[in-house]
């Protein structure tokens, strides 16, 4: 036997005594709660340890603060990363929504054009999306995502939502080439473009051409000096038909632009010099309508 008998007895006595003390405390604790002897013990312990706890708190406070600061910094960094990600998502959503709003506004205008324009009621039409924009100032063409399979033919007029509120849509150009699923559109500003036009509320007629001296603006040529054409007048397609049966490629009545200046460069000239600003911003086209005048 390694542990002596006396020590065995002492050990048992100590364990038994402490076990009994614990059970007594447990019982008293349930009986008295925080009153009586148990309450006195607890209050006494609190009184003894409270100053120690205060001192410990004071001593450890800088470490606790440093710990909390480090933890707060880590949390702030994590939150910063999370918030940045959320901000990027919100921005992307905002761009998408803004794009949807713009698209909606443009499509509303096209819809109103189809409901109010006589031309649109005469010819079938198809909506299209611009898939390539003008490459440079010398190549004023765009590409649409519709082609001959949708009934598109060469020379069909193309209209787009107008920035001006007096007209819903304006002429963009004409279809110059067609494939099965796409088509090229020659814009009004293309150097090769020309269209017969007239000024509303007057009998003035002429040819609309790109203004070679002022890119982005059209020139209305051939209007007689006698015509009472004024700034602000609305220019539309004329849709001329000759006596020989020749017909202009565009039907009459499609809005083109607004007269921004009228002048006479030479007293001997027989026609006025008229500048026309297109209703449609030809540099930012998204949604257009193709009037199936020749196809369809």
């Amino acid at each position: 036997m390694l542990i002596g008998k006396n020590r065995h007895l002492r050990r048992r006595a100590v364990i038994g005594l402490l076990l009994a003390a614990s059970l007594t405390l447990l019982t008293l604790s349930f009986r008295q709660g925080s009153q009586g002897a148990i309450g006195a013990i607890q209050r006494g312990a609190l009184a003894v340890t409270a100053p120690l706890s205060t001192a410990t708190t004071r001593v450890t406070q800088p470490f606790v603060d440093a710990w909390n600061w480090a933890g707060g910094l880590y949390d702030a960094r994590s939150e910063n990363v999370k918030l940045k990600r959320e901000l990027e998502q919100a921005r992307a959503t905002n761009v998408t929504l803004q794009q949807a709003l713009d698209d909606n506004a443009q499509l509303q205008k096209l819809l109103k054009f189809t409901q109010n324009s006589q031309v649109a009621s005469q010819y079938p039409y198809v909506g299209a999306t611009v898939i390539t924009q003008p490459g440079n100032a010398y190549s004023q063409t765009i590409t649409l995502n519709v082609g001959s399979s949708a009934g598109i033919a060469v020379n069909d007029p193309v209209v787009a939502p107008a920035g001006d509120s007096t007209v819903f849509a304006g002429l963009v150009g004409r279809v110059s080439a067609v494939t099965g699923s796409a088509c090229h559109v020659e814009l009004l500003l293309d150097p090769d473009y020309a269209a017969s036009a007239r000024v509303l509320t007057t009998t003035g007629r002429g040819i609309v051409l790109p203004n070679s001296s002022d890119p982005g603006v059209l020139a209305l040529q051939g209007v007689s000096q006698d015509e009472a054409v004024k700034t602000g007048g609305v220019v539309v397609t004329a849709g001329i038909q000759s006596r020989q049966g020749l017909q202009s490629l565009l039907p009459p009545g499609i809005p083109i632009g607004q007269i921004t200046s009228v002048s006479q460069s030479d007293l001997t000239a027989t026609s006025k010099t008229i500048q026309v600003t297109p209703f449609v911003d030809l540099q930012s086209l998204d949604h257009v309508l193709v009037l199936k005048v020749h196809g369809g």
Binding site: G4, I15, L18, L26, I41, A45, T60
Partner: protein, 182 residues
């Protein structure tokens, strides 16, 4: 011997204050490391059953008093943990030569004893609260109390155990007279 008891008493007081004042502010969860239990287990490994039981009783009473909890409950659990570890390490006649003395367990094993004792005390505490009728749902107990306490106590033991080994250097606790008679 008396110096040992003074050291243990001071350690109980200091660790109780640290456990209740400083640790709650340093730990991320509502659970805190059981520093007193680490002391009880260390005493059990280095000083034997009686010292462990006395230390466990004192630590438990102080803890329950300071927290205004159910007096005696922590004492019982700490005493049980201390006695369990100490009795498991008690040398047997076969393991010990007539004049030899057993060494304390290796540091890694001491750490394992602390973890095991913490698990036992935490489970015991949860069961006691079930019996007393003021328990939380088992999932909450496990996820928010038992496991966090176990992890935090294990981490604290890595620092505290070496300090306690220095504070209470190992002393053989063989009854010399008993060996002599053997």
């Amino acid at each position: 011997m008396i110096l040992d008891w003074v050291k243990i008493a001071l350690a109980v007081l200091l660790l109780a204050v640290l456990q209740l004042s400083a640790m709650p502010q340093l730990t991320p969860s509502s659970a805190t490391p059981d520093l007193l239990l680490i002391l009880v287990v260390a005493v059990a490994m280095l000083r034997g059953v009686e010292a462990a039981v006395i230390t466990g009783f004192a630590a438990g009473v102080l803890l329950d008093a300071m927290t205004m909890g159910t007096m005696g409950l922590s004492s019982l659990l700490y005493m049980g943990a201390g006695a369990g570890v100490a009795l498991r390490l008690e040398p047997s006649e076969q393991a010990l030569g007539p004049v030899g003395s057993p060494l304390p367990p290796r540091p890694a094993l001491q750490f394992v004893y602390v973890v095991a004792a913490t698990a036992a005390v935490q489970v015991g505490l949860a069961l006691a609260h079930v019996l007393l009728g003021d328990s939380y749902p088992a999932r909450y107990e496990l996820a928010s109390v038992i496991v966090p306490t176990l992890i935090q106590t294990a981490v604290a033991a890595l620092v505290l155990l070496p300090l306690l080994r220095r504070l209470l250097p190992y002393r053989p606790r063989i009854d010399v007279s008993a060996i002599a008679t053997a």
